[in-house]
């Protein structure tokens, strides 16, 4: 396949300039994720108000897929309720495992090419797992293994 199918411009751009890449001073939920296979590490900061994600940010180091995915995730989860966040993660997982883009969700669909690289699915979900753990108040480190 053409590499630009995997590394769509949304991914390259979010990797070069990740959004919400900072510590969040107002965070009341923090969770980390790591991929022991490659050493990628990510920390997600969430300011939870009631059941709504008022603000969210992340820090870490990893491949373009994991960094861009976390960056897009923070943009999409800000302002969402827990239920909405989980539904969105479900849709994202469908996109990257089935490889079917969602016409109505171009940012998440940028990751559809990942399905041709099964080893990279863990990279794409690392930040999401950490975020879901954070909102559930689980202080454990998410791991892709």
């Amino acid at each position: 396949m053409d590499l630009t199918e995997l590394y769509q411009s949304v991914i390259l751009e979010n990797n070069r300039r990740p959004r919400n890449f900072r510590k969040l001073p107002t965070a009341n939920r923090i969770a980390s994720g790591n991929n022991p296979v490659c050493g990628d590490e990510i920390t997600v900061f969430v300011q939870l108000e009631g059941d709504r994600i008022a603000d969210i940010s992340f820090q870490g180091a990893g491949c373009a897929i994991s960094q861009a995915s976390a960056s897009v995730m923070t943009q999409r989860l800000k302002g969402r309720t827990l239920a909405e966040a989980e539904a969105l993660f479900g849709r994202f997982k469908e996109i990257i495992t089935a490889g079917k883009p969602d016409e109505e969700d171009l940012d998440l669909s940028a990751f559809a090419g990942v399905h041709q690289f099964p080893a990279r699915i863990k990279c794409a979900t690392l930040g999401w797992h950490a975020a879901i753990n954070a909102v559930h108040g689980e202080s454990v480190t998410a791991t892709t293994e």
Partner: protein, 413 residues
């Protein structure tokens, strides 16, 4: 022996044709296999030896009295004799067949449980592969001994030996280190390290996983106590490896695993142990693996290890020098003499992305922590990309590697 003195130059192009797997395209491009530090490809001679063994001689070893068992036993023990000769061990009894380097190192760590006590120390280096670190961590946890480390100088990947004698004098019982670092390419001064350890009465363990298929090894002149390597990293099959141990030490050691073959006599409540090396080889061994390894050792020595070492190191030095000119590159390991691999970081491009990018061009690289996580943590980088070379790699493949790394830098930068 100086690995740079080469009697006659082998015909590398003809040798490359001995490896059937290399004749294929990957993602539409000719395969360029540069992941030899993980495992090497196998020549026709090794594949044929495996097939021949299974088609003609297969039986269990040592216990049967029929013809096939005799042939299998003869072939298995001939492989042991050949392995002893390959590293100039004093006797075949000093060769234990294992699953690979990892099992060899674990065997030593396990059997030394009864020989260490609280207050003792185990010395390793900061450049250990996890397989030459975690078994010692487990041994330390079992015995109350502590782990000490020989530091690595920095990105140039050398051992800082300035305090080695102080370290060795700190109740150290075992000193384990790699001959060639799998993630830096550093060639460590094994003979010097063994001599200095011996002067403190310290037992030495050499991880030769990255060196045995490249450099000539003479355990008697290195004067090491143990040395472990894997068949699959030296043109042989997976599942077979060698642990060399000094005979007196092996005889004094407890067994590793219990089972058939390793016993002399078994009662309901106790047993006595077979002689070395059989004391350490419980159960049916990888007989075909040993036969395949024998063929690999013959294959390597037909070419000549000094020539192979010079060839691989030349490719690595070339790659190192030309990668140094790529903007944003951070190279690891010594700039001068090195083993046949190069490890690097590229600003803005994560190793896994670089490896995926190269794979789409038919180039097999490795990206990640290469099982040396503590080392990278110390050097402040999570992962690197590694290109590792073997006898079938060519200067043209290095050209292609450099071009693709430059493209990747542009693509992700």
């Amino acid at each position: 022996m100086n690995p740079l003195i080469v009697a006659s130059t082998p015909d590398w192009a003809a040798l490359r044709a001995d490896f059937p797997i290399l004749d294929q395209t990957v993602h539409g491009r000719p395969l360029i296999y540069l992941d030899n530090g993980a495992t090497t490809q196998k020549p026709r001679a090794v594949i044929d030896a495996l097939v021949r063994y299974y088609e003609h001689d297969n039986a269990n070893v040592h216990r049967g009295v029929h013809e096939l068992s005799y042939r299998a036993t003869t072939a298995y023990e001939a492989a042991r004799t050949r392995a002893a000769q390959f590293i100039r061990a004093g006797a075949p009894e000093e060769i234990i067949f294992t699953r690979g380097t990892t099992e060899g190192l674990n065997l030593i760590a396990y059997t030394f449980t009864s020989r260490l006590k609280p207050g003792d120390a185990i010395l390793v280096t900061e450049m250990e592969h996890h397989s030459n670190l975690v078994p010692w961590q487990l041994l330390a946890a079992r015995t109350g001994a502590k782990l000490l480390f020989v530091p690595v100088t920095g990105d140039d990947g050398l051992l800082d030996l300035s305090h080695l004698d102080e370290l060795l004098a700190s109740n150290v019982k075992l000193f384990a280190f790699p001959q060639i670092s799998n993630s830096l390419g550093t060639i460590n001064p094994v003979a010097e390290l063994c001599t200095r350890a011996r002067s403190h009465g310290v037992i030495t363990v050499v991880d030769a996983a990255q060196s045995a298929g490249h450099l000539p090894i003479d355990v008697q002149s290195l004067d090491c106590d143990f040395l472990a390597f894997s068949g699959h990293k030296m043109a042989g099959p997976t599942g077979i490896g060698v642990l060399y141990g000094r005979r007196a030490l092996l005889e004094a050691m407890d067994p590793f695993q219990g089972g058939g073959e390793m016993i002399a006599s078994v009662q309901f409540d106790h047993s006595t142990w077979n002689k070395v090396p059989h004391k350490f080889e419980a159960g049916t061994p990888d007989i075909a693996g040993a036969v395949g390894l024998h063929a690999a050792l013959d294959y390597l020595d037909d070419i000549g290890r000094p020539a192979i070492a010079a060839h691989d190191a030349q490719l690595a030095r070339d790659a190192y020098a030309r990668l140094a000119e790529v903007p944003g590159i951070r190279l690891f390991g010594p700039p001068g003499e090195r083993g046949g691999l190069v490890s690097f970081g590229l600003a803005g491009a994560h190793p896994h992305d670089v490896v995926t990018f190269a794979d789409q061009q038919g180039i097999a690289l490795r990206g990640g922590h290469h099982c040396t996580q503590p080392l990278w943590r110390k050097l402040g980088i999570a992962a690197t990309t590694r290109a590792s070379f073997y006898l079938y790699n060519t200067p043209a493949e290095v050209d292609r590697l450099i071009a693709v790394i430059r493209e990747a830098a542009k693509f992700f930068g």
